[in-house]
């Protein structure tokens, strides 16, 4: 039987792997992929709690739908920004994209 703890530990694992990817990767596109992993971890958590708490209201699933929508918008915008940065700066290495760094 699946318990809530199973789902939450899996979600925590996905989230922390994504966190490592965001902090450690050098390529901006790979950072974006790691952010997608973190968003999916959040969705797993939401769906798991929705299945655990109340089957009839679907609150967690509906919020997960909105998270997926925002994630799609985020990917589109972020990739456009990365393409633009690459055209202007000639790199997608986040270590070199320190224009706004104080």
């Amino acid at each position: 039987m699946i318990t809530l703890v199973h789902v939450q530990v899996l979600s925590a694992g996905l989230f922390c792997i994504g966190l490592y990817g965001v902090l450690a990767r050098r390529n901006a596109v790979l950072v974006l992929l790691a952010i997608e992993l973190m968003l999916n971890a959040v969705n797993v958590n939401l769906v798991g709690i929705a299945a655990f708490v109340d089957h009839s209201k679907f609150l967690g699933q509906i919020i997960a739908v909105f998270v997926i929508t925002v994630a799609a918008a985020e990917v589109g915008l972020a990739l456009a920004i990365i393409l633009r940065l690459y055209r202007n700066k000639g790199t997608t290495n986040v270590d070199q994209l320190n224009l706004m760094k104080w």
């Binding site: 699946i2 996905l14 490592y20 050098r26 679907f58 589109g76 633009r84 290495n93």
Partner: protein, 165 residues
């Protein structure tokens, strides 16, 4: 097979794909590993009675986002990453922070009271659609406008301006 065995299989796909995303040196392989991870997550959605979300996951991530990411990888230069290291200098700290966060969350979750997720009957997708278009109609429309604005913004940003190459 029991749901728990299926859950472990789908979870292994999700976590294995995730490790591949952050571990591989080839950026195209990273995008394909992300696809594996997202399909594992779709399997977990199915096991948690979220059939609609599983379908959306396969269609949107598998069909759209991975393709867009692959296009972006092909349009940016990959050579500068092909030989050198893929991680920046702070990767040991990043690994430490992620591991610490995982242990912290796991301990907190294990101490909480999480019971079994029981089976349920009834038309899940039907009720979800009804709820989405009655109670949640205005947030749904706002989300669609957000998506439209974001995609128009993406086109405007990515398009080359006048006189630029």
């Amino acid at each position: 097979m029991t749901p728990l065995v299926l859950f472990y299989i789908a979870g292994a796909f999700a976590l294995g794909g995730a490790v591949g995303v952050v571990g591989t040196r080839n950026v195209v392989h990273a995008a394909l590993f992300l696809l594996v991870a997202l399909m594992g997550v779709a399997g977990i959605y199915l096991l948690l009675f979220a059939e609609f979300l599983a379908l959306v996951q396969v269609l949107l991530y598998g069909g759209a986002i991975i393709i867009v990411v692959l296009f972006a990888l092909m349009l940016t230069r990959l050579q500068e990453f092909s030989s050198g290291v893929m991680e920046n200098k702070q990767w040991p700290i990043a690994a430490l922070v992620s591991l610490g966060a995982f242990i912290l969350i796991s301990v907190a979750v294990a101490r909480s009271q999480g019971g079994a997720i029981t089976d349920r009957a009834g038309p899940g997708v039907l009720l979800l659609g009804e709820s989405l278009f009655t109670q949640w109609a205005i947030p749904f429309e706002v989300a669609s406008v957000l998506l439209l604005v974001a995609l128009i913004g993406a086109i405007v940003i990515a398009r080359s301006g006048e006189g630029e190459p």
